[in-house]
């Protein structure tokens, strides 16, 4: 049964001021429409350019559910190509990442393409003479995604021609990328340490919402962070606090801590928690790091960079970054009830190794399929994905600290436990879902 295809009014009706209909999480039809409209209308994260440092380097990923390739072209620029042979659709690359040399060669019938996607050669080319091949779609090669933007190393792409341009779409939210990159004394990041992959049987938006949900840590994470706090209490007085305890214990901070830390709201669904302080504020200093920062930026500016302790910055639709710990989580939709979560970590170029060590420890302790903190969250998402099938109530409540005039406001900092960011994400969802419909 189709209810929503081509029906912008029905889709808009799924999002109310203070609640959303369960179909945004459970309906396969809505999911398909997200893939057809919402993702192609948005600027979606593809990858980091340090993953493809040399000409011919490629990295395969998805925009929504569409397979694409991030590739370094021979002229040094970065391209995003649909990862599909124009002949019969075969995926071009066999590994997730690698180097293809000067051209891609399809493994099926050996059509070959330059690294910008254009057709290079076809075996038995004669067979296409007088067939009108030049006018075919196939003759144009691997289709490039035309709208791409490399922002300080982070590559975004927009599949549709319509919609907002890059600056309009992200606006002031780019300051969170700036802060993460500025934390390197040379202003450069590099993907490092390996990617953690975690399969979730739930809708991708549950993860996105959770990034600004500050009323759950002390409840859901009592099992993990609460146990850390309890076990740590029994350590003999004067024992040096291990890095692991520094990382996990702040999840148990009380409601006031999260209320006071604040949430910032930007246009188009973006925003971040941790305006004033965050769970990352009290990490021990890493020897030698501040001196390097001071030498690079001057004392005042170095301080300003490091005093910014944004907790989670959500970039709508499906990534979150943590500047102070140099981490990016990518929530990749697979089906209405299935999401692949990739957690990427970055090295601050020219900074001490201990920072990367801490980043990797954070990723392992919080975001791994073997992480106890991750277990707490996934359990809740999967219970919600099941519970939403109850007909007892078709609506999900997002009402906390609602104010009737909030839709018109942007770049405001509000109470850290507000559900405004989630309402805001759904306003953006509704906008990009129905754009041009």
């Amino acid at each position: 049964m189709t209810r929503y295809a081509g029906n912008a009014a029905a889709l808009r009706a799924l999002v109310r001021d203070q609640e959303v209909h369960r179909d945004v999480y459970v309906s396969e039809e809505v999911f398909q429409l997200e893939m057809e409209h919402m993702f192609p209308n948005s600027w979606v994260y593809v990858g980091h350019d340090s993953q493809v440092p040399n000409a011919g380097d490629y990295f395969g990923t998805t925009i929504g559910t569409q397979p694409v390739l991030l590739v370094r072209h021979t002229d040094g620029t970065v391209k995003v190509l649909h990862n599909r042979c124009p002949h019969k659709g075969t995926r071009i690359t066999s590994e997730t990442c690698g180097n293809t040399g000067k051209f891609f060669r399809c493994p099926y019938h050996a059509w070959s393409f330059k690294t910008d996607g254009s057709l290079l050669a076809i075996p038995l080319k004669k067979g296409y003479e007088n067939t009108g091949f030049e006018q075919s779609h196939a003759a144009t090669g691997m289709a490039p995604v035309r709208h791409i933007r490399n922002y300080r190393g982070f590559v975004f792409a927009k599949i549709n021609d319509g919609g907002l341009d890059f600056e309009e779409f992200f606006g002031e939210s780019l300051s969170s990328f700036d802060n993460m990159v500025d934390r390197s004394p040379v202003g450069q990041l590099k993907v490092a340490g390996g990617v953690l992959r975690y399969m979730h049987n739930c809708n991708w938006k549950m993860l996105v919402e959770n990034q600004t949900d500050t009323c759950h840590p002390m409840v859901a994470h009592e099992s993990s962070a609460g146990t850390v706090v309890e076990v740590w209490k029994k350590a003999p007085p004067g024992t040096r606090k291990p890095m692991a305890v520094e990382i996990i214990a702040p999840f148990m901070s009380p409601y006031e801590f999260f209320e006071n830390m604040g949430i910032r709201i930007w246009d188009n669904g973006h925003g971040h928690t941790g305006v004033h302080h965050s769970i990352h504020s009290d990490y021990s200093a890493v020897p030698g790091y501040f001196d390097k920062m001071k030498a690079a930026y001057g004392e005042e500016r170095a301080k300003a960079i490091l005093d910014e302790n944004r907790h989670n910055t959500v970039y709508f639709p499906n990534i979150m970054i943590k500047g102070p710990i140099q981490l990016l989580r990518h929530f990749k939709p697979i089906a209405a009830n299935k999401t692949l979560v990739e957690s990427w970590t970055f090295q601050l170029v020219d900074a001490p190794d201990m920072l990367l060590e801490r980043t990797l420890m954070y990723n392992r302790l919080i975001n791994a399929p073997t992480s106890i903190v991750g277990h707490d969250d996934l359990e809740m998402y999967e219970r919600a994905q099941e519970g939403l099938h109850s007909n007892g109530n078709e609506w999900v409540n997002l009402q906390r600290l609602y104010s009737p005039d909030e839709a018109e406001q942007t770049n405001v900092a509000v109470n850290g436990t507000s559900e405004w960011p989630m309402r805001h994400q759904f306003r953006a969802w509704s906008k990009f879902m129905t754009m041009g419909m």
Binding site: A192, G193, G194, V195, L196, R197, Y198, M199, H200, N201, A220, E222, S223, S224, G226, T227, V228, E230, V231, P242, A244, V245, L340, T345, D353, L356, E357, L360, N363, R364, L365, A368, P369, T370, I372, G374, H375, D376, L378, E379, M380
Partner: protein, 170 residues
């Protein structure tokens, strides 16, 4: 020799059979969810390592699925007992099938013994049952007349796959 209670070592230098019995006993304690006794098999400075990368050599600047000292392991064990550990309501259960452990190296002077064990590990919760294939490498030494684990390394054959929750110990 019983696997259920820990047998005292007959000599300061363990025999191959004693090393093998020790490794087998460890798996059994996990299967029987006797986690306090299990933790006691680890030296105070022990690590439990589950690499994320095939043939990974560095646990510090390359991410791992687990790289945990005894403090973190004891936190996991405590958490499993918690009244509000919702991901363990209901609890997971697990099952190990080991090949006979092989003694890869023994160095009595350095008090260092290494075994290598191929295994299948099954974890279940609710209606889900998941099979993992792995190799466990145990670095053992004798402390106060007892064998202790200094390092347990678990290499999953599909270490880089996307997993759901893995809740217990392999």
């Amino acid at each position: 020799m019983s696997m259920v209670t820990e047998a005292p070592l007959r000599n300061a230098v363990p025999t191959d059979q004693e090393l093998i019995d020790f490794v087998v006993r460890e798996a059994r304690l996990i299967d029987q969810q006797r986690f306090d006794e299990w933790l006691d098999m680890y030296a105070d400075d022990a690590f439990y390592w589950m690499p994320l990368e095939w043939n990974q050599t560095d646990p510090r600047l390359t991410c791992s699925l687990m790289y945990e000292d005894k403090l973190l392991l004891s936190i996991r064990v405590e958490r499993l007992k918690g009244a509000r550990t919702f991901s363990q309501k209901p609890k997971s259960r697990c099952h190990h099938v080991l090949q006979t452990p092989q003694v890869d190296s023994r160095d009595a002077t350095a008090n260092s013994y290494v075994t290598w064990t191929a295994m299948h590990y099954v974890e279940t919760r609710l209606d889900e049952q998941t099979l993992y294939a792995a190799w466990a490498t145990h670095h053992l030494s004798v402390e106060n007349g007892k064998l202790k684990i200094k390092l347990k390394r678990v290499d999953l054959i599909n270490c880089d796959a996307a997993f759901g929750n893995i809740q217990l110990f392999m």
